[in-house]
Amino acid sequence: MKNEEIIDFDLSRLNLPDLIEAYEEIEDFLHFLNDQRIEEDDLDE
């Protein structure tokens, strides 16, 4: 299933608090991913 289909289909099924929660989940996850990045220059080969 394409991502767009998931979004188009499911968002209308979500109630208002769930929509907000979905945003918060994504936002928190994006912060998490950013924190997981490692600077490549700091390491030896």
């Binding site: 991502n3 499911d10 968002l11 208002l16 929509l19 907000i20 979905a22 994504i26 490692i38």
Partner: protein
Amino acid sequence: MNNFLDFIKKDIEAKKTLVSTMPSRTKTNVKKLNQTIDNIEDKYINYKTSLVNYLLAKSRSFALKDDVSDVNTDKLNEKIINLEHVKFLLNPTNTYFEKMGFDTLLYQINNYTTFNFDSLNDIINGFLDKFQLVGISLTKDDFHYTCYVHEYMTAFLDVRNKKTKNYDKVGEVFEQIYWINPELIEHIELNFRKLIKINEKRFSNYILELQKDAMRDNNVENYNDCIEKLKSLYIDLNLAKKETVNDIIALARKGDIDIEQLREGSKARINAYNTLVPTEVDTSNEKEMVKVCNVLEKLKINIEEYNNYLEFLPLFNEFRDEYINLVPKDDNEVPYKGLKEVVEKINSKENELERINKKIFSGKPGFFEFKSDNDLKHLKAESVLKAKELYKLYKTYDEEYFKAKVMSTLSNTLTIMDVLNLYYSFDYFKKLAIAKAYDTNSFEEISKYSEDFDLFAMNTTNIIVSGLPLFDERNIARIIANKYNLNSIKLTEEALDEDNLTNLLNQILLILRINKIENSKTTIEKIWFMCKVDKIVSNERKNGNLL
């Protein structure tokens, strides 16, 4: 079937595990890790973008049409402003002196040390403009209270008449005079007072004409008619200004209302209902809640009035303490003569001053036929001393003037409303009383109290103070609580404690707003959602994610 939220929760869990367990010791590992993170991030940024667009569209779809009532308040406000002006002109309590605005100017000139030169010039011009209004162009020959007043006002009028607005020369003259006569400004004030007295008839007639015009232009028969018309307009205005759902939404989106408090299950909501809604009422029943809200609207007005009363209690107490022993015991009491006596003293002393001034000013223009310069110096000093004595007498005059007004209506049945009207009618004395009651000399503070006082005095919904006797202490908290207990609202005296009034008002507003929303086309949850989306959009814009 999984919805989007369930899907991303599971997916995020899985991705977190993946990323946390990927090796990262070598450069190759790290490159692969970062690549994986980039891929996941791209996907989730796309999710977020689509989601935020959906949130925005959904939030916008909840907007309500504007209420038509907004248009009417402008016209109403204009009518009220006009009628308030008519009321001001027709006020039977005060005279031409207050209606011309001389009392306000007097207060300002009394506080001249608070101002700079520009403001002082404005005050003096203010006096001169008022004379101009009645067709009197004052000249230097009108300013002979002392020779120094004459010298200063000659320079002042010279600049005023030339319309250059450059008062530097006047400032120089002030510098020269000030060290000989530091009370110069006070004596200018006395000169103006004398001129006002001399031209009393002109000012009274001017006001009479203004009154006639105002009554005709506004279709008002008399003062009482004006009051009734105003009351009716204020009722209409209060109805038109009643908070709409759109107002509540705007306040919530601005952050002035915490929308979380209105949601079911919130502590604030539960407390408010427990305090103010009778237990037997079914809160889901619209008809019952309408009745409750009508009562709460009245309670809100009463508490606001009570709050105002408490704010100005020091002023009422000051008034009460000053006049309690002067309340006439019977109808045969001799009328108060204090004002007449001080007026006689002032007239007598001003005559003495005039005799001194005649000696100073008489003689050939520019020359004085004195035996020596010392004689002239001595006379000038004497005139300044006389003017200083007169300044003190005028202070007494002010006290007696107001006292005479009070004594004409003083009785043991005087109400708080009567005191409100008295002070509202006499701006100068109101400000003096405020300074005393609140122990302050700050011009700004006194002006603020004065403005708030006027708003309180003008409020046509005042009902508690209209029957509240000044000289007989009443427990207002108990009176309010008892009244609303009859409506099954179990208010206690403690709930009406001064420190708790703001909290009580907020609880009333909370219930009124909830009821308003629940009987509208929107819901609290939708408003909550709109507020959340606003924050989300703001956050996205802050992070450079333009939509």
